[in-house]
Every structure is written in structure tokens, then in C-alpha cells.
Symmetry: C2
Subunit: 361 residues, 2 copies
């Protein structure tokens, strides 16, 4: 029920996770380099089928929290990623059986791999978003109403914080975000521990495998000179919404997030049109010629039109040739309770969610 | 080596602590009412001579942290004050032998009394400032270089935070202040636990007795129609710096503090002069006709000229007849290391400290 994560899969995981990041989750590149280095030194990490978790196994849910732009400048390593996990074990007086990411999107897909590399724990083939989202209450665990504490947080100095109780998921987000912001808008965290049963019942399962699969698809298309964007959309029942050139982007790192907008000028079949995107770490809403074209929780990806490589909200820049692609979100996010947590209103947009996939039908 | 705090001493403690608050520490009035109520129900609190502490006794150092103005609006109680103490015991897996205040000035003089009332712990006759100060690194324990963690913090909802490590006293202040601000600029805290030896060696001793004594002095002067301000200054080797009427005050509750300025127009022998005060919770600098007249760590008190009652920075208002009084600070605060932590530069004023008492000599 567990298998070794192969060295060549690290890059595939990074590529696939970056696509599922919907612009956020932070670039996986630096974490991938860290993981590759650990593999070069002989470390191996195991991937665990969530079905193999015992009911009372304790699973560490990790993430590198903060503003993606800062994550590109303040480099982390595996020991740092593992620090809050060790804090949590000490705080609980219990050992973890496995580790998983809070979000499969972006660099956080690699975070449990780094933790696993230094702790020997297996990585559960699951996450709690099926993509990336900016806030703590935007997980399948929060949607399921599971407890949100304790949380442990460490920075690169010697600051360590335990949020031992929180009045709600939103309060957990508010408090941990303020601490994260104060220590420089990036921190390693271990979220509320989950039992094996909670992961099996309320996690979003097999997303590590899915991300590796997406990465393989894109790399394979590149190898055979096929169109990676088309290959991805075909395999994942996605949709290409727009093709064009980035006209401009504005970004501000504020309140522990990377917020901003990007405008894309149409090329080819979209010539004469404009696409605009708003983001809070991840892409939240897209407008085609001023009309809402897509919203969260649909997975809004901006991909390099030629290579199919994802473009993060922190690396958008003038002149990039990109395709805006929609991928379907995990079904739990589309339920009424799910939309309360991750629909457009949860991001401050007074819009109803309508799936881009239903619209097309 | 310990004695019962008498019911009539509660009011004296409140009056004396408010004077030592130097405008800050928060009004003791509401905590005094809480304590009086607990006494009316039959609760009694013991005051412990610090000399009676065993070397390895564990002492809880408590405070109600935040902006004084908020403390007047969000009422606390004894169970709330005791919450972070219980959190700390649980976190450490050890029981406390006694409780003390981080600062004898203002409402925090009553905080350990409230904790004692519900836990049965004795209150150590000591604090760590000998007055009130706004920030965590402004204590005799910080000046002595003692460890600054762990800290526990609770708000009135159900949020609980443990700062389990901090890179420095300043980092402890920054992180705990942000959390305090986020939960509404008021929180009950239990600072880094101290051993009995640490309290004996580095605490500021017998300040509960001192505050009660000041209160008794003022109340007695009022009773016999003597001048309470003159009585206080005579007994404490203090100085009256200015007498006048408050012209205006500006206040802003910002970053978890109450900051602002007040201007006083001279009366009687000060007619024609102006006195200006700047504060960050507590009075920090005073100017007489534009020239620096006094700075921290000298204890700058604004007292009602008739009653001798202290006026807090949150209750300054137009028309009050007040006397600006200087009381000597504890000697540890006047050492070079002490001034680094609590001199005018520690508050952002590019001024050297010169004691108002040395100036007069």
C-alpha cells in the first residue's frame, strides 16, 4: 500500500503541482531542488495510499504559509519544513504516522516530501484542497467541520508559536496569518493533526498521484512536440478560456498575501479581446472583455502557451504568451458548504459561482 | 512569611497602583470591583514575601495585555485572568507555587489578585517593572537577560496561543502584540514562568506593599483634608513638576497601544506656562514650554490636583485640574542596561535620560 517516490517523479510532481496551484501555492522550484538534492544524497520518500491509514493513525498536515513572492526570496530547507512537525509531536506527546500537504497546488506539494525526507514518515497520497487556496478555512477538513487546532508555526529565526485553541477556522486563519506576517510573511506550519479516518473520509485523495500524472502528461507532450496545453485540457476535461500576451500585472504583498491583477491581450482566435484576472495568492476571478468568465473554486491556470508550464501570480510579467485554462475543482468544493468556504463570496466578490463547465454544456 | 490581603487594602492597592501606572497599566477600577466582589463572597488572597520563595518554586507572571482604552470597554473577570495560567501549567506539565504581576502599575496590580482568588495561589509581593511600561522587553527580567518564553495568551472568545520560543525579548513582544491586536487589543497573558530564585534576584520587590502604602497615604490625606499630592511627594521623595488644567489631548489606539499627546495650561505658580506630555500607554516624555522636562524611566504621574487620584492616558480630558508629579524609578531601570530597555531611546525619542531628581540637586 505504499511505494517509493521515484527520483524522476520529483520534477513531474513539481510541474503538475504548479498547474494545480492556480497561480498560487508558491513556485515548487526551490522545494523541488531541495528534494532532488536529498535524493542525490540517497534519501528516499515513500508515498502511502490513504486507504492504508489506520483509523487512529496521526497524520501531520503541513504547509509553507505566506506570500508566494516572499517564498521566492527567503529560501527554506527540509529541516525548516520539519520543525513545526517536531513541535507538534512534542506538544501532543504523540508521534505522527505520516505527513500530508494541506494543498497539492504549488510548492506545498513538495513540503511533505521534504518533511518525509528528514523524518522518515511516509507522504499520504492526498491533500485538503485538491489545488491551492490562500486561507486556512478553505480546506476539505474545514468544510467537513473538523477541529482547527492546534497549529504550530516556526520562522527562520528562533520564533515558535502554537495556536492551541481557536474559536473558529476563520479565527485560526486570522491569528496564524498575523503571526506569519509579523515574522516576514513566510512560515513553516503544521496544521491541526488529522486521524487516519479523518484523512480517508474528508481528505481529497490521490492528488499526489494526480499531480505527478499531470506533470508526466505535460513533459511527454513536450518531448513529442505535441501541444502540452491541449494535451492537459483533453486529459483533464478542462477548457482553454483564452490565449494571449500578458499586457501588465500589478502585485502587492499585503496582510501576508500576494494580491493583484493581470491583464492579457488576445492573440490568434482571441485577437481583439482582453482577459483580466484578479488574485489573492491564487487566481480568484477572470473577466473576458469585462464579463465574468470564471470564478473560484474552478481551477484557473495560467500556462505558458508553448511549454504548458504554469505561471504563478508572483512570476507574471509583460509579454509572456499564456493560455488561461480551467480545470474542474474537486466535487466537495462545489457543494453549498464548499462554496461558503471557497466560492467567490469567500474572497469578497459579490458573485454567484457558475461552473465554467456547466456554462459550456 | 505570608499574610492575608485585607478587604480594605484592595481599594488602597488600586489607588496606589494607578499612581505607579504613570498613566498606563490600565485603570484598576474594574479589576478592583471584581476583587471586591470576590472578597464579598468570602474569597481571601494571601500576599507572599518574596524572601519566602524556594529557589525552584515556579511563579506565574501575569498581565492583562493591550491598549488601556480597550480595557475600559471589554470587561474581564477572574476566570479569564486565570486562563493563561492554567494553559501554562498544562503546557509545562508543572504547577505554579505563586503568582505575580509583570507590572505593579495600573490594573495589572490587581491581575494576580484575581488569579489568586480563583486558583488559591499566593500573590508574590513583587513585580518586574516597579511601575507600568507598554512592552514585554521593558522588565527587570528582560534587563537581567532571563529567557523570554514560553508565553500563553487567551482572548475572551476561545482563542489560545502559546509562543513557545522567541528569538529575543523584542520578538516576543512583536509576536504576542500582533496576536493581542488581532483579538481586539486586549488579552490575558501569562509571561515566561520564573523560578523563586529568579524572582528574588531579579524581581522588583515589595511593590505590592509599596502600592498599598501609596494608596493609604493618599486616602489618609483626603480624610484629614490635607493635600494628597503634597503628602505623596513628601513621602516618596517625588517632585511636583507642573500644576494646571488640561487643554486638550489626542489619542489613537494603534498597533495594540494607546498613543497620543496631552497639553496642560499652567495655573497658580505655573500660570503662563504650558506642559506637554507624550504617551505610549504610559507617559514617556514631558516638555515644559517646549523644553524636555522629564523622560522615562522616571515615573511621570498626572494626578487630580484635589484628590490625588491618578489620571490615566485613556481618561485625560479637557478641563481636568491636574498636577504632573515625578516619582523615582527603581534603580535597576537607571543602569546603562536598564536605560537600553526603558530609556527615552527605547520609545523612539532621540534624547538622553537625565533624572529629574539629579537635575534638581
Amino acid at each position: 500500500m505504499d511505494r517509493e517516490l521515484q527520483a524522476e517523479e520529483l520534477e513531474l510532481l513539481a510541474t503538475g503541482a504548479w498547474i494545480l496551484g492556480a497561480g498560487g501555492g508558491g513556485s515548487p522550484y526551490l522545494s523541488y531542488l531541495n528534494a532532488r538534492n536529498l535524493y542525490a544524497e540517497g534519501t528516499r520518500v515513500r508515498i502511502l495510499d490513504p486507504a492504508a491509514l489506520q483509523d487512529d493513525d496521526l497524520v501531520a498536515v503541513v504547509s509553507n504559509m505566506g506570500a508566494p513572492l516572499v517564498g521566492q526570496e527567503r529560501l527554506a530547507d527540509a529541516q525548516f519544513a520539519a520543525k513545526p512537525v517536531r513541535m507538534m509531536e512534542e506538544y501532543l506527546g504523540r508521534k505522527f504516522s505520516a505527513v500530508m500537504s494541506v494543498e497539492i497546488g504549488g510548492g506545498n506539494a513538495l513540503q511533505p516530501v521534504l518533511v518525509a525526507a528528514v523524518t522518515g514518515l511516509p507522504v499520504v497520497d492526498a491533500d485538503a484542497m485538491g489545488r491551492a487556496f490562500p486561507e486556512a478555512q478553505m480546506t476539505s477538513f474545514a468544510i467537513a467541520g473538523l477541529p482547527m487546532f492546534p497549529l504550530t508555526l516556526a520562522d527562520i529565526r528562533d520564533n515558535e508559536v502554537i495556536v492551541s485553541r481557536a474559536a473558529s477556522w476563520k479565527w485560526m486563519e486570522r491569528i496564524s496569518r498575523k503571526v506569519c506576517t509579523e515574522v516576514g510573511s513566510i512560515a513553516a506550519t503544521c496544521k491541526a493533526p488529522r486521524t487516519g479516518k479523518e484523512v480517508r473520509d474528508h481528505g481529497i485523495l490521490y492528488t499526489v498521484t494526480k499531480a505527478i500524472g499531470l506533470g508526466r502528461l505535460v513533459h511527454e507532450a513536450r518531448r513529442v512536440h505535441d501541444d502540452p496545453v491541449r494535451a492537459l485540457v483533453a486529459a483533464e476535461s478542462g477548457k482553454v478560456l483564452f490565449k494571449g500576451k500578458i499586457l501588465d500585472s500589478e502585485r502587492r504583498t499585503t496582510e501576508g498575501f500576494l494580491r493583484g491583477r493581470a491583464r492579457i491581450e488576445g492573440l490568434a482566435e482571441n485577437r481583439g479581446s482582453r482577459f483580466e484576472l484578479a488574485f489573492q495568492n491564487e487566481f480568484v476571478v477572470g473577466w473576458l472583455d469585462g464579463a465574468v468568465a470564471i470564478t473560484v473554486p474552478d481551477i484557473i491556470c495560467v500556462l505558458d502557451t508553448v511549454s504548458g508550464e504554469a505561471v504563478g501570480t508572483e512570476s507574471l510579467r509583460y509579454g509572456q504568451r499564456v493560455s488561461v485554462v480551467a480545470l474542474p475543482a474537486p466535487p466537495i468544493l462545489l457543494t453549498p458548504k464548499g462554496l461558503e468556504h471557497v466560492g467567490p463570496r469567500a474572497f469578497g466578490y459579490d458573485l454567484d459561482y457558475t461552473s465554467v463547465f456547466e456554462r459550456a454544456a
